[in-house]
């Protein structure tokens, strides 16, 4: 789009400029010059006189703040809509910019000098009126967006906020407007990506009102977009396991999963304390408190990829030792095809579910198999992750009752492994709002903390009276990490 004819066609197609006439747009096209900004470059500064109008062609301009700052529409504002007249605030009284404008990525704009616009305004008062009505509309839209953000920031859920935004403008919209479908798309996780695609199409479409609402909605959904990226990462992590070629062994699949999860968690907010307390080598029993997965992370097949243990596997153990750990996982229930498809490929140590063996002999046989498999994993230098609660709970109530099986297991192994407690917090919250917290506590051996590790009562007293209260404190500490 380097020639005037192409630029003219581009200006003609801009719904944002529908208040201008064809001749007005031609004037802009004829006098427009190209400006390319690299990421971080400043287009203009707060307080500078307005010297031009810039029309965004591609890229992103951030008004207020610096690139990388949170752009939440309340304090900072990101402009990504093609055709948006950047710098309008310098064209109105008193002719100075209110905000710094900085490119957040490589950005292409078309610049029309102020002198050109002022000359035409003097020569054609009709043009002046149309242009300044457009500038007033831009100013009012920005103020209105600010008001909307002040209100919607009260909503706990961005989806509710967007639904309310669309409902609040419903009487202005066509009954066939695609905007009416957006709340439905947003309420089902697998169709959230469709909601973004639809909103972006509406934003770039010909209906100025719909485009304005779509821009506001996209602004509100910044956190949801981040969640979507993580959700797509969860899907990829699941498929990396469940759809791995048959000739790939469990250890390689575990390593691939850990790498996929590291990529996934780097897109989240997390804090880890106490990494320096990890033993120098792997081959330890690693305890985790177990937290519910937020319902919005459930995959389309109903399977929830539990984030907490995956976080410990990938972000703590794999990144420290370069070796994927082995987890202790319950057998799949009869109706959990997704669970079975995922875990059968990973070579984890499986323990019976509530649907497991019914006779004492069968249970004893399964327990011995569990001990043998767990011992084998530890002997080969792999970490063994166990959630001693057995079932997940909330951060506020975590940990629940700690079962003593993991501790008895550690006590009877030779050589006796270190036990590394890891306290986790906030993995039960929505990704867009949570700061995941993890505290690695001081490792210990059972023989250091009870006189006779083979004595079930002594182990139970240690776990219930000594360890459990300290574990609760570590979880509080993890929840407070910021």
């Amino acid at each position: 789009m380097r020639d005037v004819a192409a630029v003219r066609r581009w200006f003609t197609g801009l719904a944002l400029l529908e208040q201008l006439q064809g001749g007005d747009r031609d004037l802009l096209a004829e006098h427009a010059t190209w400006v390319t900004l690299q990421a971080g470059a400043r287009l203009y500064g707060q307080g500078q006189p307005g010297s031009a109008l810039w029309f965004l062609v591609e890229g992103e301009i951030v008004l207020g703040g610096k690139p990388g700052d949170a752009v939440d529409g309340v304090v900072g504002l990101a402009i990504t809509t093609p055709g948006y007249p950047v710098g309008w605030d310098g064209m109105v009284w008193p002719g100075r910019h209110r905000w710094d404008a900085v490119a957040a990525s490589r950005t292409l704009l078309l610049r029309v000098a102020r002198e050109v616009i002022d000359d035409r305004c003097r020569a054609d008062e009709g043009f002046a009126a149309r242009l300044h009505q457009l500038l007033l509309w831009l100013a009012a839209t920005q103020l209105r967006r600010q008001h909307t953000r002040l209100i919607t920031s009260r909503y706990d859920d961005e989806t509710d906020a967007v639904a309310a935004l669309i409902a609040s403008r419903a009487e202005e919209l066509r009954v066939t407007s695609a905007l009416h479908r957006i709340p439905g798309y947003l309420r089902s996780r697998p169709t959230v990506a469709d909601a973004f695609r639809a909103l972006e199409a509406i934003r770039d479409g010909e209906d100025a009102l719909e485009a304005e609402i779509a821009r506001e909605a996209l602004d509100m959904l910044a956190g949801v977009r981040r969640e979507l990226r993580v959700y797509l990462g969860l899907q990829r992590a699941y498929e990396a396991v469940a759809s791995a070629p048959r000739d790939v062994g469990p250890a390689e699949i575990r390593a691939r999963t850990c790498r996929a999860l590291v990529d996934l968690f780097t897109q989240t907010e997390y804090r880890i304390a106490g990494l320096d307390r990890l033993p120098p080598t792997s081959g330890n029993v690693v305890l985790c408190n177990h937290l519910h997965s937020h319902p919005t992370n459930r995959l389309p097949n109903g399977f929830s990829l539990i984030l907490d243990t995956h976080f410990v596997s990938s972000m703590i153990l794999y990144r420290t030792y370069g070796q994927p750990p082995v987890r202790v996982v319950r057998d799949s229930h009869w109706n959990e095809a997704g669970h079975a498809r995922y875990y059968e490929r990973l070579g984890y140590v499986m323990v019976p579910s509530s649907e497991g063996p019914t006779t004492a002999a069968q249970r004893a046989e399964r327990y011995e198999r569990f001990v043998a498999e767990a011992s084998a994993a530890l002997r080969t230098g792999q970490d063994l992750i166990i959630c001693p609660e057995g079932c997940p709970g909330t951060t506020a109530s975590s940990p629940g009752r700690l079962r003593i099986g993991a501790f008895q297991l550690a006590a009877r192994l030779d050589p006796e492994p270190m036990i590394v407690p890891v306290a986790l917090a906030n993995f039960d919250q929505r990704l867009s709002r949570a700061v995941f917290g993890a505290v690695v506590a001081e490792p210990f051996r059972m023989s250091d903390v009870v006189a006779d590790p083979a004595d079930r009562d002594q182990v139970a007293r240690f776990v219930n009276d000594d360890l459990a209260p300290r574990y609760r404190a570590w979880v509080r500490e993890a929840a407070a990490l910021r």
Binding site: V75, D89, A128, H132, Q133, L135, W137, I151
Partner: protein, 159 residues
């Protein structure tokens, strides 16, 4: 209660009005009136057609937005003389996007837009430019207020 035709000029009251064409200012001053309004008086109703600009002389004005079943929410209050409300009257749609209400007993100037609509297009351009600047300043002020109190937003409460 209407006080009567204004002896006060828009230029003295509204930031940027001195940049307006002198003939426009004269015309607006001729048409404008100053009112005392009681606390609670609704000056503009969201979605209603707008025929006048409202300029705050003294007192406090709240801006409220009805947002899909949540009721009218206060999004902004101001005690700043010269604040202008009713910008929508200058644009084609011409309907208020928010409700504007006197929060305390206040004095306001009502500026009919008829002379602007009936006058030369340059008058519309000039007034739009000044009002747009005022709106940009309001947006900026809200952002500054929020950046300093992001965790404890003030000025937003159920009306």
């Amino acid at each position: 209660m209407e006080v009567g035709s204004s002896s006060m000029s828009l230029v003295d009251l509204m930031p940027g009005a001195s940049a307006l064409p002198a003939a426009l200012v004269c015309e607006l001053d001729r048409w404008s009136t100053v009112h005392d309004v009681a606390a609670g008086t609704v000056l503009l109703r969201q979605r209603a057609v707008i025929e006048d600009l409202i300029v705050l002389v003294c007192g406090r004005i709240a801006t409220l937005v009805d947002f899909a079943g949540t009721g009218d929410l206060v999004v902004e209050t101001t005690e700043e003389p010269g604040r202008v409300f009713g910008w929508s009257g200058l644009n084609a749609l011409g309907r208020a996007t928010a409700t504007v209400r006197a929060d305390t007993d206040s004095r306001i100037m009502t500026v009919p837009l008829i002379p602007v609509h009936d006058g030369p297009p340059g008058w519309t351009a000039a007034l739009c430019g000044v009002v747009a600047g005022a709106l940009a300043d309001r947006t900026r002020e809200l952002q500054v207020r929020w950046s300093g109190a992001a965790d404890a937003p003030e000025g937003i409460e159920d009306a």
